[in-house]
């Protein structure tokens, strides 16, 4: 984990509220499912913002973020050549080296991008990866998953693209050795419950408000079956059976 200065090379709006930023920085040490604390301000905002890695490449990191408040709005103003501070990589990430066989990645909304680097890592490890991507209406990042996935399933709430309904309607956990999920809590709970029914291992990546991002402030602690855990340091990826929701 390091505190770095990066340079923005792309910052693009891709839907109403989703943006993608490409940051040149050294070194890039991120593993699938890890995140960085980002800030594009000095002290105008107090806290850095935790954003998951979308894609990690030689000398650059991609982040996809949803504009939800003042911090992310400020980030959306970034232009090519602007500086951005990065603290990370933070958190544990998905245990890709332990995963074998056939895997389903189940993403919802802005929880989709964090699974992209995971798809790549797993595919390169010889794992068969299927992606289940659930959107509200407009698709994004689909083509980024394509090179790494065997089958892809898409849903939108009103059926603008792909299946009409929730992505969990399409998932059959019994076909998989492991299921990895990231997205709205209600979706992940459903995925976790379906996996539990079929005794399939399920990892969930949680989103949480945090202040330090490195495990010091305890601002993102959650109750788990093995006691209090810090989402930033002990997570953000947890075994679904550890969670109490």
């Amino acid at each position: 984990m390091k505190y770095l200065v990066g340079e923005v090379s792309v910052n693009q709006q891709i839907t109403d509220d989703i943006w993608v930023v490409r940051v040149s920085c050294e070194p890039v040490e991120a593993k699938a499912g890890q995140f960085y604390m980002l800030k594009s301000w000095d002290t105008e905002q107090t806290l850095m913002r935790p954003i998951s890695v979308f894609k990690a490449e030689e000398g650059c990191l991609w982040f996809m973020y949803r504009v939800v408040g003042q911090g992310t709005r400020r980030m959306s103003f970034l232009e090519k050549g602007d500086a951005i501070r990065l603290l990370g990589p933070c958190g544990n990430g998905y245990p890709c080296e332990q995963i074998k066989g056939r895997v389903a990645l189940v993403g919802g909304g802005v929880g989709i991008p964090p699974l992209c680097e995971t798809a790549k890592t797993l595919q390169r490890n010889g794992v068969t990866v299927d992606a289940y991507l659930g959107y509200r209406d407009v698709l994004f990042a689909v083509e980024d998953f394509e090179p790494w996935c065997t089958d892809m399933f898409i849903s939108t709430e009103k059926g603008e693209e792909g299946y009409k309904g929730f992505i969990t309607d399409l998932l059959k956990p019994e076909q998989y050795d492991v299921v990895l999920t990231c997205g709205p809590e209600v979706m992940m709970r459903k995925v976790a419950a379906m996996c539990a029914e079929h005794d399939v291992t399920c990892y969930c990546s949680l989103e949480h408000r945090m202040a330090c991002g490195i495990g010091a402030c305890l601002g993102c602690s959650i109750r788990t079956k093995s006691g209090m855990k810090r989402v930033c340091k002990d997570g953000p990826v947890f075994l679904s059976t550890e969670l109490m929701w």
Partner: protein, 303 residues
Amino acid sequence: MDNDVNLSVEVAGVPFKNPLIAASGTFGFGEEYHELYDVGCLGGICSKGLTLHPKDGNDGIRVWETASGMMNSVGLQNPGVEAFIETGIAQMRRFGNVLIANMGGHSMEDYVTGATMLSASDIDMLELNISCPNVKSGGMAFGIKAEVAEEVVRAVRKVCTKPLIVKLSPNAENIVEMALACERAGADALSLVNTFQAMAIDIRKRKPVFNNVYAGLSGAAIKPIALRMVHAVCKQVRVPVIGIGGIYTAEDVLEFIMAGAAAVQLGTVNFNNPLAGREVLDDLAQLCRREGITDINEIRGVC
């Protein structure tokens, strides 16, 4: 350390190589920030707020950004005094700076038992937290009324063999009266201020953001008020005062020292810039040089 500027200070007989101390609750036990820089460069570190027994802390949202600051309602999540003595102290010792254990409590008995245990341990100083606004039963109550604070400090003083710092709440009925009461009761030093009791509402849910309704406000927003309180207290007490409250820069540090503080604590700024401790220290030496200050102690209380 730059030889041409003396940054070393003394607080209650304890030498600090510089006046910067990491504030309790923002720095864990130092370990996480030590991955980013040698935290031993700081004058000292205050441990995460301890309680006699382990605590899980508060449910619900715990941190919330505000204009020029933030609110928190962590609720003293900590492993308890015993676990801290068993593992936390050794962890903090390797940094080589002043080790301050911060301890809060729910009852007079908890404070006294905890202070007794910590007195027998290898800490350098005890910072008594009588001011956490995020713990429902007690905590804050001790920090509001001077006579209640005096009683708890007196009881702790009897058993405490370490230099005793009492950390004051800005929510006290009268901060100067509170400071004088704690001094009378035997505090060796005072630190102020803790967070201001504050509130945020989620208008979409039509509910308070925090489960406890109120939470503690910190950061740059509170600095001018904290400075005023430190100044007012320094005019009235003889014991050294450690200034806390929205200190982000070397300039802020000098302001607090000119207001009379013996040392300062850096808290919220650690979240804005994880290298803040080291950077403020580097800036401080340069700033002193620029301002023609050869010994930081010479400007103390000039205002």
